[in-house]
């Protein structure tokens, strides 16, 4: 069992963070207060960032913090606080269709697991000490090289979404 390439500390860290993420994810859907749910979601998303760090994917981890914790969750909280955010428990938070979410999330779990196993299988991450190139440079070379067209398409879709949102929001 004691192999030279077994990263014990990383595995223990992964276990602790994963457990925390599962508990927090369950609290997101069971807690009786909108703002508390959002804050549990912050813990889930930061946990994901920590997992990326353990995989030595620091750029992805930082992007996760910048986009999800710093922007998306702040907008979530901003929106709920502007409209409805009482302090204390609220009774009518559950939608009556909540049962449908269970099979959907199980299906999602199955599909993502299958895709990951099918796509990567037994592949191993290269040892970070042996990498010669800076990971960020590899990443940007990939995005602006072979994946340039999808990148443009995504930017275009986002631009359309932004303009659409402005058109919908303007009254005049």
């Amino acid at each position: 069992m004691v192999a030279a390439d077994l990263l014990v500390a990383q595995n223990i860290g992964f276990g602790i963070i994963a457990l925390l993420m599962i508990v927090a994810a369950l609290r997101v859907v069971t807690v009786k207060n909108v703002v508390h749910a959002a804050l549990w979601l912050v813990i889930v998303l930061s946990g994901a960032a920590a997992q990326y760090l353990l995989l030595s994917a620091e750029f992805v981890a930082i992007t996760q913090v910048l986009v999800y914790v710093g922007a998306v969750m702040v907008l979530f909280l901003f929106g709920t606080m502007l409209t409805r955010a009482k302090i204390g428990a609220e009774a009518d938070l559950n939608n009556k269709n909540w049962g449908i979410a269970v099979p959907v999330s199980l299906l999602m779990f199955g599909v993502i697991t299958w895709v990951l196993i099918d796509g990567f299988g037994d592949e191993r991450l290269p040892n970070p000490d042996e990498q010669t190139q800076v990971p960020i440079q590899v990443l940007s070379d990939d995005i602006f090289g072979p994946y340039l067209l999808p990148f443009w398409a995504l930017s275009f879709v986002l631009l359309v979404a932004v303009i659409g949102a402005i058109v919908l929001a303007r009254k005049d």
Partner: protein, 351 residues
């Protein structure tokens, strides 16, 4: 001395030293800025002496103030969300500690040598918004909530010009690693003359101005202090806080000012370095060990200079209105910084 600096410490000792160094690097600038600028400079600008009784020239006033705050009662409003109310100041302060982790103080005097340092700094600085928002919400007070919402709106609006202003520096340096940005500036030359290195404040002056304005807004210092506008919102999200929780907010505010001044000096003023040509250094490995001692002093000098500018603006200008503040960010700063990126990219390819 050199032997001491070159000593190989075990990993745990290095980590311990870095944690202690981080605490010093957060608290020392905060205390200095509060005493030198908030107590003394503001008083002189208003034709008064400021604190004079505690210690020579009132220099121990800070100790007295901290003692005063620590012995005050820690009040939680009755209808507040107690747990969130209590952790909110800590979230804000944690963001400051995370921020200082990427600042390099010398060739080997760094906390973490992050490859994506600039990006990391932008990411963790936005975490403090969360703390401010939940502080405003959990206080169960409509002034606090308004202050929190204003702070969030303002910080989101000024995050963008800050990111865009830094991109000019990244393009010019060709790296996001703060340590390598320092090296690029000090090893650089201006049209072949390397007596000054190439501090990016010369080539990225527009970016520097935008960055400093965005920093002013991120710190919610006047003229961007809408979130804590005391004449209309009491003091915004901080209204209900007392005792050491208020102190935490207070330390976080000025420590973040210090850390942002440090980061600005790394990005635009050459950081810890002196022009490498003076001592015939070429790369970071050839830099002498004594720079690990001199470097932090240079950094602190530059930090005081930039903190002086931040505080000077703070005590000189009246407050923006909310709509002026948003219009200034979206219609002035963002377009200018986009043009700055374009021009920088074109010149980078041309030269």
């Amino acid at each position: 001395m050199n032997a001491l600096l070159a000593a190989d410490l075990p990993y745990w000792a290095q980590s311990l030293l870095r944690v202690l160094g981080g605490i010093v690097a957060v608290l020392l600038p905060a205390g200095t800025i509060v005493y030198v600028f908030l107590f003394k400079m503001m008083s002189f600008m208003q034709s008064r002496l400021g604190p004079m009784e505690a210690g020579p020239y009132g220099s121990l006033q800070l100790v007295a103030e901290v003692g005063k705050w620590l012995q005050k009662e820690d009040i939680t409003p009755e209808r507040a969300d107690r747990f969130i109310f209590k952790i909110a100041p800590l979230v804000v302060l944690a963001s400051t500690f995370l921020l200082v982790a990427v600042v390099p103080f010398g060739p080997d005097a760094w906390f973490t040598n992050f490859e994506a340092g600039v990006f990391y700094m932008l990411a963790v600085s936005s975490v403090s918004v969360l703390g401010i928002l939940i502080a405003g919400w959990a206080s169960a007070n409509k002034y606090s909530l308004l202050g929190g919402l204003r702070a969030a709106g303002q910080l989101i609006a000024y995050e963008l010009p800050m990111v865009l202003a830094v991109i000019g520096v990244i393009i010019q340096a060709g790296t996001m690693n703060l340590q390598q940005i320092v090296v690029a500036q000090n090893a650089g030359s201006i049209f072949g003359w390397d007596g000054l290195g190439n501090p990016y404040i010369l080539t990225q002056f527009v970016g520097f101005i935008i960055f400093m304005i965005a920093v002013q807004a991120e710190l919610t210092q006047t003229p961007f202090d809408m979130p804590i506008a005391e004449s209309e919102l009491v003091s915004g999200y901080m209204t209900e806080y007392s005792g050491f929780r208020f102190l935490t907010f207070f330390i976080a505010e000025f420590a973040t000012a210090g850390v942002f001044a440090l980061i600005a000096s790394v990005l635009f003023l050459g950081g810890w370095g002196i022009p490498f040509a003076w001592f015939d250094w070429s790369t970071i490995d050839s830099v002498d060990d004594w720079m690990n001692v001199v470097g932090p002093l240079i950094m602190v000098t530059k930090m005081m200079l930039l903190a002086f500018i931040i505080m000077w603006v703070r005590f000189s200008y009246p407050r923006f209105r909310e709509d002026q503040l948003q219009r200034f960010a979206w219609k002035a700063l963002v377009p200018i910084s986009l043009v700055n990126i374009m021009v920088t990219a074109i010149l980078k390819v041309a030269f």
